[in-house]
Point group: C2
DNA sequence: TCAATAGTGTCTATTAGACAGTATACC
DNA sequence: GGTATACTGTCTAATAGACACTATTGA
């Protein structure tokens, strides 16, 4: 079955074929990884009573070279010929943040022809979720001009155009990327095209807002994936420190989903994913909050609910 | 902001830089697209009373060249330097099946170093869903040895290994690919690695079962994606003809999800996605079934539920 | 007539949403 | 004491699961 001993039309076995094989000379795209590195920042509350605000942040670097000199870009780099794409992603994450272990997920591979004006470049984007406390310890932040940006996104408009045998659905989404010095507001169009049995989804950058390449699309895609995974996986805990309060966790959900949640329902929902500790926070002029830790799904409570 | 007029450290504007830019000579991986083309087959019932069975199928081709000469592989090909990855995917779909419009979705990009013994090849996998009636009309099935295989998958085992600060979760999944002449049974290991804050998912081919390259992984990933999308999107309709009965639709869900569904609940759930017609099937020794068509989400019923 | 499927009504269990009410720290 | 948050109890609405029951055909 494996074809090891079969001979091809030239009478070669697989071993002979591989020994004589010379890669062709046709042009190949360059391959890069681009890293959407997300974290959550707690910013100091306005007064002693209020709790800390949470904001979702993404790491961008300021380009020091053409093209897009001076623009902000998602950090990334070329995939070496002797490393896997995953390894390249880990390497980039480490070099940008100093973080070794993080939630890491491949998102999407961007392969439009003109996306880099220099040459054909295909970029494989990854999402990394890092918890702030790790970042403070680990070195990180290369020599290059790397900065965290607060991220949010909103739907600007949604338009449905009927077609002879289907429809086109176009949503315009504004991303806001902001820190003390810079505010970028790219706009991305997400188009769903249905015709007969066909159905494809595509994204266009309507306004780069000062972001390099097609990175506005990448960021929009990353936020979308982060949001949807938040709702049906444990992904949020990758953004939390070892110990956290349920209110903090809820605020992380809220800032990423962009909507308020009801405390009672939220607590019911995540009850099985967390484990209480004996510790409490003592900060602010209000009732202290119990600290929890993440409970891996395996460690189910094996003691049955004790009944009378 | 765009850096068009800025000069870099060599005193070049972006235009000057691009004019003088020469792509480096470093080695680049080759880039291919690999197409997981799924369809659903209705096979003739055993006797006049029973309804047609549905099976999920995937298209594989028999390799006529080294490496893996004679093995079955997911159809695919190189991405041209002047076409986008999406275009390459559409081109491959068309050349293998003759189908122009289909549900098409990028799945994952496979970039392990040794996955092709000839040279470094990175493969971007896509999933295409085509409805059988299209296939019969359109030409398709190239000169090459292409065959449809019934697909199913089952979890063989699940093992959780505790680690100092986390755990490793390993599931072994057997895929069964079968037609009248061939039966392949690759086994794939899906490992979730958690350590501290880190969390990554990886797949290994435990037993290729006669499939070329790492295509067992690709197929397993494709089935997983198809299954999960079936539950929260309209993806199933891409596998259906224009007109279908709700029982047929349910059987498609059942064969893909690998479990029986309750008719009442199923009908409630998809009620908003379909639109009834005045037509009925008349086949088999039992009550005829009303034919439905897919209703795009936009065309909500604008007539309010009529009440008294 | 009857086997096999189509389709509906309804009871129950589970889950999500809403919101009031109690608890407790700090200034 | 008053404020801001922590946390719980409970009512209601919506959804999913179970299953019985009716409807309709071709041989």
């Amino acid at each position: 079955m494996s074809g090891k001993n079969k001979v091809d039309r030239n009478g070669l076995t697989e071993e002979e074929f591989l020994r004589s094989y010379r890669p062709g000379d046709y042009e190949r795209p360059s391959l890069t990884v681009d890293m959407l590195i997300f974290t959550v920042l707690s910013s100091a509350p306005e007064n002693y009573r209020r709790t800390a605000d949470k904001t979702l942040q993404v790491l961008l670097i300021r380009r020091g070279e053409h093209p897009f000199l001076g623009s902000w870009a998602v950090p990334g780099g070329f995939v070496g010929i002797h490393e896997s794409i995953d390894e390249a992603a880990k390497r980039e994450l480490k070099s940008e943040t100093g973080v070794d272990h993080a939630y890491l997920e491949q998102l999407y591979t961007w392969g439009e022809v003109g996306r880099d004006p220099r040459m054909r470049v295909v970029s494989c984007s990854y999402m990394a979720l890092v918890d702030r406390s790790q970042l403070l310890l680990q070195a990180g932040e290369d020599a290059d001009d790397a900065r965290w940006f607060d991220v949010s996104s909103e739907i600007l408009s949604e338009e449905i155009t009927p077609l002879p045998d289907g429809e086109r659905r176009e949503r315009r989404i504004r991303i806001v990327l902001e820190n003390e010095d810079v505010r970028l507001e790219p706009v991305v169009q997400v188009t769903e095209h249905r015709e007969g049995h066909g159905r494809t989804l595509s994204r266009e950058v309507e306004d780069s807002g000062g972001l390099a390449f097609d990175h506005a699309k990448m960021i929009q895609y990353g936020i979308e994936r982060l949001r949807s995974k938040l709702e049906y996986t444990d992904i949020a805990f990758a953004l939390m420190p070892q110990l956290f309060t349920l209110s903090e966790l809820q605020r992380v959900y809220e800032v990423i989903l962009g909507k308020p949640l009801l405390a009672a329902a939220f607590r019911r929902k995540i009850a099985g994913r967390v484990e209480e500790t004996e510790e409490y926070t003592r900060e602010g002029g209000h009732r202290p909050s119990k600290l929890y830790r993440y409970r891996q799904a395996g460690e189910e409570l094996d003691r049955e609910e004790e009944r009378i």
